[in-house]
Symmetry: D2
């Protein structure tokens, strides 16, 4: 039985605690949060679990094998570092750290201490994204042309960073999982609207060597909640609408066939669009977070690298950093 | 009665012809198209209207008071110039011309000959966009924060230019009508995917001096047709979904109230989000194009500047040109 | 060339006229309507077509081979009878007549005079309904279990009859086309709400011998326009949403597998639900009415029975009559 | 502190247990279920709560003040009767009992023992239904004309009864709460499709003295989940779509104005439809079940009748019984 300490019982912590209660081979041993009212709520829902104001008491405890960090981004590095140094396995809410340097240090440290370091790139474990990866792997979409994602809503979930570090972290994590090629540059535009101190709207373009393109619109000031990703492939195209209760992934048998005719007089490209059926694969209803805690438990038990390991977390943080830098430099393309 | 000659009976021409038949004070006198099969279809539907392969015959005819140009972009300048020089009033399908220089020449020429020059920025005449302008004018949205538009579908409507000149022309025309402030710079990213010779996906950001931001996603390679514009205001926010059959414009009583507290120790911004009712104003069902031909007739009869005059057309073409240049220069911000 | 006279240029007439203009082998020769303003509009749009206040002048004309009746229901029988007696082929807007007796008389008369009698069951010619018929024929849905349709909106399109004769006529025509079995009884409930003199809301159940069931909700007092039909099959189920711009027909690989176990102690039915993929077949965009005029022309030219002949029209009218009678008798089941 | 025993930890029980854990003044003391695996899951999630296979041990316990019955319908009467006789307050999952006789006995017994008897008509406590009641009370809709509800999905939630007792119980409970007038008769049509032993599709009409009409379509064999209620009013109309994540209630400023002109020659009703704005009131996100347990606690503490008391439960059961009888008698109207 892996004994888990949870640091942070704010927005995401209660979801982690609930899923831990249903994960075989794991048991939630202790919860830490700096706010007493949150600890009261935690105690009420999880009778018998120890609570602590001081995270370090949980991290240092001999009764704890693994630590889950679900605190604000600015504290990730410090808490994770302490946990790794205490020999604990660590699962960190995304993004891994607030700088590529910090992220790289955690990766190196975890390797050194031989503990599992995993980042909670939750969407990578959703039925929808798993199904999309499978469609890509089976060649169903053909060569990929572009990914376009819109992730907007009203509301601020991270007080200590901008919308890129909060929302685009999801898109970059999904992209990192779905796309095998590595990007070469990032550019971004955005603004601090309505008196905010951090950017609350941003547009990020991720460039690849072969012309493939990813674009992400992230926005904390939108009146409607949209979570929609379009993936264009040479053979088929796909729309992943995470807000759709029944058919999150729709695959369109649409594409482009073209034919270059080399006429003596002139070159003409004849384009014909294919417009065919649509299908929506059945997705099982397993909660993504249940698969996250399962993967963490399995990686620990099997002494193996988790799917979304520290290296994946570092790649995402590196792109986030580049996007932020481009934002400061008028959208200049930043090489990775 | 204003006697009209229509040049071009391809995609848009039949719609113009149909609306002309229902416009008081105007009558469709002649239709020109370089393709005989199109002229046959035109003759069948519009018995009694003269047809011609040679556009110049229509333009030069003494029986014609006004010319409507609905031909590929590359021919706009030549045809419009000839018509203006022949003393005809001219309505041109958007965009006005394929370069700012050509557009400016048409504007100057029309002023010189004292004929009406109008560009068919169709959406400006739609009930939805008219209603949005009215909401803005009445202060319903408060100070505007951003405009974000997605205009994507599968299919190529312009063979002689890229997706910016085709689709973004609509967004820039709407923006030009809705926003009184003048933009200061444009940047764009995009790609030529799937072997196309012109860009078929592009992301355009239009920058304003006061931080206000517009962003347009235009795409000819999308599996679904999306025509959605989000306008964020300090008081309320709005979603304009042109594909919604019944409620195209939805106004959300959502916004941001914030309160800056200057604490001795630190500055803290307390943000509170307002989440209230939504309402969708009733829109009349008049076809936008019926208002376009009406405005053209009224401007001619009243010897006045039409709402979407040559100057508006020139402003849009100037931004299109800047966007294309940014596309060629890795998304560099191009001053206007 | 089949020379056509159109009687009625109100709501549906202009659509018929427009489609006739695009139908090969047919030409619109004359339009009759009792209202002068409608004739003016007709003349404007269809230059060269004769117009008449008196329908009988068109019906009696030697220049006319076929008559299309698009007038209020109460006049169908009189006009169609006159046309048939004048030796003209007749296409009538649905429903065929206002009583089964009148409908039967038209059928007999047309047979006697050897002219084509066709009823404009428009939806039978839509791409969606044609695709559904094909899915059923290929056994894709398995044995059919039920059809449920909702056809509601705000607004009265027929002043001289109730909502059943207006809206349910569509559903019954679709059912008549899709379902080979013949119904055995009809029951209906409904009401005259808001002071109307005719029923404006009704619920109709059509009973079949084998337990198969059809139910139709028709309503002129609904705030939203819904046109949705669900067809349950043993193998798969289908939703036909006529308001969906892109995927009108969705086929769900959902169904029921059950297994009866005869236990000594008790009988237990184990039900398991299958929940699989969804697919939406591509539908071509041909307008249904274009296929209606095409079928009329082909039936005349080929001297053959049209798909929706008088007999189909009579079956629908018989069910409408039974539904109305059930409505008057507290929902009593009326045998057919 | 009200000490609660929960009987039944199947589909609905875990939701009740979760909400009890967050309800002030109440504590979950014991959980009973006949299945050991369910008790294991309960013990895991609710550490410290006693579990029992035998419901009677919980009911009889001195440590229990109130009992919640969340078991199959056939056991409601027996368990509730035992609990009331043991002097416990009782909250029962809908419907109250499987016959009007049983329901009435429970109501009388609870009055006799002076304990609170409440039925969990969950939707009555939803933000949407509360908002609708408020709109009706404020005269926003004007005189009500009809209620039409569709509640369909794939899947059987009650093994021991038909779809009416399962799904229509919700609609009748909502109707009982929203409509002050009492219905006079019920009629129903339906079928046992696909080899089921109970009806799995049914259409129920509830008749009122003044012409007002309610109709409910309930179906366990539908490929899509629909939860949509339309309420037509003389002034405005409303659509309540429980599946809409953001705007569940939409109020349409649509209606009918009519004007009866008494002409010498004939009576003519001139109908004009009003088509205006739509608005969607903001709904708070409180879970309905949290309000159910809150109301149960408050009724116990305040020694008052709960909102959905035994009498409401009895009214709903009486209508369910009448609907089932009509189903057996070819849709005959059954007086209440």
């Amino acid at each position: 039985m892996i004994r888990v300490g949870l640091i942070g019982y704010g927005y995401w912590g209660p979801n982690l605690a609930r899923n831990l209660a249903d994960t075989d081979d794991m048991c939630l041993q202790a919860i830490a949060d700096t706010r007493a009212d949150r600890l009261d709520a935690a105690a009420r829902r999880h009778a018998g679990v120890a609570t602590a104001i001081d995270a370090m008491r949980v991290i240092a405890s001999d009764d704890i094998d693994a630590v889950i960090v679900a605190t604000p981004l600015g504290t990730h590095h410090r808490l994770a570092k302490a946990a790794i140094e205490a020999g604990k396995h660590v699962l960190i809410e995304k993004p891994l750290a607030s700088s590529a340097r910090d992220a790289a240090e955690l990766v190196a440290l975890a390797a050194d201490r031989d503990v599992r370091l995993m980042v909670d790139h939750t969407f990578v474990y959703s039925s929808a994204v798993v199904a999309i990866r499978s469609l890509i792997d089976r060649g169903h979409l053909g060569d990929l042309l572009y990914v376009d994602s819109v992730r907007i809503n009203l509301g601020l979930f991270q007080q200590d960073s901008n919308v890129i570090w909060d929302l685009a972290a999801h898109d970059l994590a999904i992209m990192d999982y779905l796309i095998d090629a590595r990007p070469v540059a990032v550019s971004a535009n955005g603004a601090r609207l309505a008196g905010f101190q951090h950017e609350n709207i941003a547009y990020i373009t991720v460039h690849f060597a072969n012309g493939f393109l990813c674009h992400f619109h992230v926005n904390w000031l939108a009146p409607v909640k949209i979570r929609q990703m379009v993936i264009g492939g040479q053979q088929r195209m796909l729309v992943y609408n995470d807000m759709d209760p029944s058919e999150k992934v729709r695959v369109y048998d649409k594409g482009v066939d073209f034919d270059v005719k080399d006429d003596q007089a002139r070159r003409q490209i004849l384009v014909s669009y294919r417009t065919g059926d649509m299908f929506a694969p059945h997705l099982d209803r397993t909660e993504a977070l249940a698969r996250v805690t399962r993967e963490f438990a399995d990686a620990i038990a099997g002494r193996r690298t988790p799917l979304t390991d520290g290296a994946a977390g570092l790649r995402v943080v590196t792109m986030l950093e580049a996007a932020e830098r481009s934002l400061r430099e008028e959208g200049r393309r930043i090489a990775l």
